[in-house]
Point group: none
DNA sequence: TCCTAAACGAGACGGTACGTCCTGTCTTTGT
DNA sequence: ACAAAGACAGGACGTACCGTCTCGTTTAGGA
């Protein structure tokens, strides 16, 4: 119900949309975000440039959609019964995706640093989802009493994702299973004081 | 002085160098890294484009030099006698500089994400100095026995700078004195376990 | 009514046709042929582009129809009893229409220069009618013996319309009553030799 | 001497200018004015589009220059001793050039009909030269007493060039040697009255 | 004091991508 | 079947910068 009011005119072509996202993703993998151009996407997708501009405001938004289309499944929230175990499982999955997603993510971050308008979109459509997933895990731990009531959960978020991004950006250390365990352990220890 | 090997021909103009760095810094403050162009710098500095290309390889390197020329002093290493106090003092100073440096830093990061060649330069000329400063503080704490011998200092680095960068990039929380205290406290707690 | 062979489906909308011709004419007057676009006509007429393409092959043909719809009456053939008087009267009327028709005519000519296909249409639907009118006048003069039998009437046509178009195109001189008189006089003199 | 003040900076490339005019002329001959595009010229000349826009305001002005570069020699003024002979000789040469120049001329005319700004340029840089040549011939005839003192020379200009353009535009009759003779004869007759 | 040579400002160069406009075709729903 | 609406592929537009080049001019040291 909701709507039913079909706008008049030819409807948006789903085929074109798919072709654009596919072409964008392929270009990103092959040549990187820095080499991504609207003309390149249009040519590869067999589409007019106007068709891209009609539905996206910039190549960054196309790239974001191309990423989301692939990473749409999302990360399942683990429930292993304890904060450290939950966190370890969650981080392993998250880190595991960086192998393929990483370069695209770096490009999108670069764009959002250069273009404040896109920064908002990026935060709302991508980061928010990731933070929500971690939020669920932390709230479970609060409910179990593993995290003291007054703890600043925002800081914990920033630590977890700060380490992820820092290592992604500067390659100071690998994002592997050990890294997941270590970060989970650090977080767990930092909230256990005073027990 | 020592050398004497003076190349023939007109020597490099120090005035031009200063004008270029000044113009670059002004453009960065007024319009941001995303709007920075070689032509804009040249025009503003009253300089030919070739003069810029003669001495720098890209606008990113000019911007980096323009930043370093201003932020040359560096951050003094505190020694308050304890890890948490040292860390708090250090982070307060570091965070305090982000007000002005932040936007430029973001631009340089963006560039280093898009251009792997510049990423190296950025890491070597900028990040390395920051990590060394923190390293001194952590080593002091290890020497005092505040940090257990086997602790992964790299992870602590990544946590401290990860939170800094994450908040700088995504504005998830302010970088103020409270933040400095909270991060220092979290680090201190995370290493105190087992005492 | 006579026919009865009514094709199935919705009949052609006379309202749409009128709206298109009206919109075209208005656009021509307001912005000139050079600025005329199919999209502009469609938007102004409140009509789909397809509806225009269904009935006309190009914007030039629409413009031609828009002109003909207005200038349909045609020019009456004078019969004042003598070549020079007939010609003067005819040219006065013809020149008088250029004030309003001129700009549109220039646009159509431009189109026919760029598009050989339209050139034919333009000649057949517009120029032929004009030449026929002049032909009647000259034939009257031949019948009266004012023009010698062997005279090249085609050249006279070309002189009369050549001057008209040349002045219309290049504004080398006004197209007023004096001009009509002078051209008529020149023609009359040029054929009177040998009397 | 006149100047001597060389503007600073790299001077305009004569090679580029020649390449552009050559490419334009070739495109005009091969594909016609209607198909002429800035991109086509630039590609064919091996030149950046900006280089064209730096020196010409539109493709019409490039085409005009390309035409003038070829037809630079101009038409020599005959002096056969009599108006009709002079005119015949002049028109034969003029008509003779239409074989190759004609299509380009038609394109330029089309453009000047669509773009009033270019119309001026066209008149000043092309038509004016042609009218001046005819003016010399007519003035010779006036000096010789072949044309009565009070005659409207402007009208004679318009007749001569009106017929030329009319036949060029509408192909109502060929522009051959006979045509030259007939027009010369008509003009001569039209001014001989009253002798 | 001149000579050599590099750096300087200026700005034109070939080139790439931009974002917009319009073309002529198509695919919907509504009449 | 025709109409309004509007999305589609395509192509040219004119602009902005890129990094390179070619001028005449300036500024030093060495001859």
């Amino acid at each position: 119900m909701a709507d039913g009011t079909r706008r008049p005119g030819r409807p948006r072509s789903e085929a074109a949309r798919q072709a654009i996202l596919k072409a964008t993703h392929d270009e990103l993998l092959e040549r990187g975000y820095g080499e991504l151009t609207m003309e390149g996407i249009a040519a590869r997708a067999g589409v007019g440039k106007q068709t891209i501009y009609r539905w996206w405001r910039s190549k960054a938004e196309v790239a974001l959609d191309a990423l989301l289309a692939v990473a749409a499944e999302g990360i399942p929230i683990p429930d292993e019964g304890g904060l450290e175990a939950d966190l370890t499982a969650f981080l392993r999955r998250t880190y595991g995706m960086q192998e393929s997603e990483g370069p695209i993510l770096k490009g999108l971050l670069a764009q959002s640093l250069l273009d404040p308008g896109f920064a908002e979109t990026f935060r709302d459509h991508f980061l928010a989802g990731r933070r929500a997933a971690l939020g669920t895990i932390l709230n479970q731990a609060v409910a179990r009493g593993e995290i003291p009531a007054g703890t600043d959960l925002g800081l914990l978020h920033d630590v977890v994702y700060g380490v992820l991004w820092y290592r992604l950006l500067f390659r100071s250390a690998p994002l592997d299973d050990d890294a997941a365990r270590d970060v989970a352990s650090l977080i767990a220890r930092s909230v256990r004081i005073g027990e």
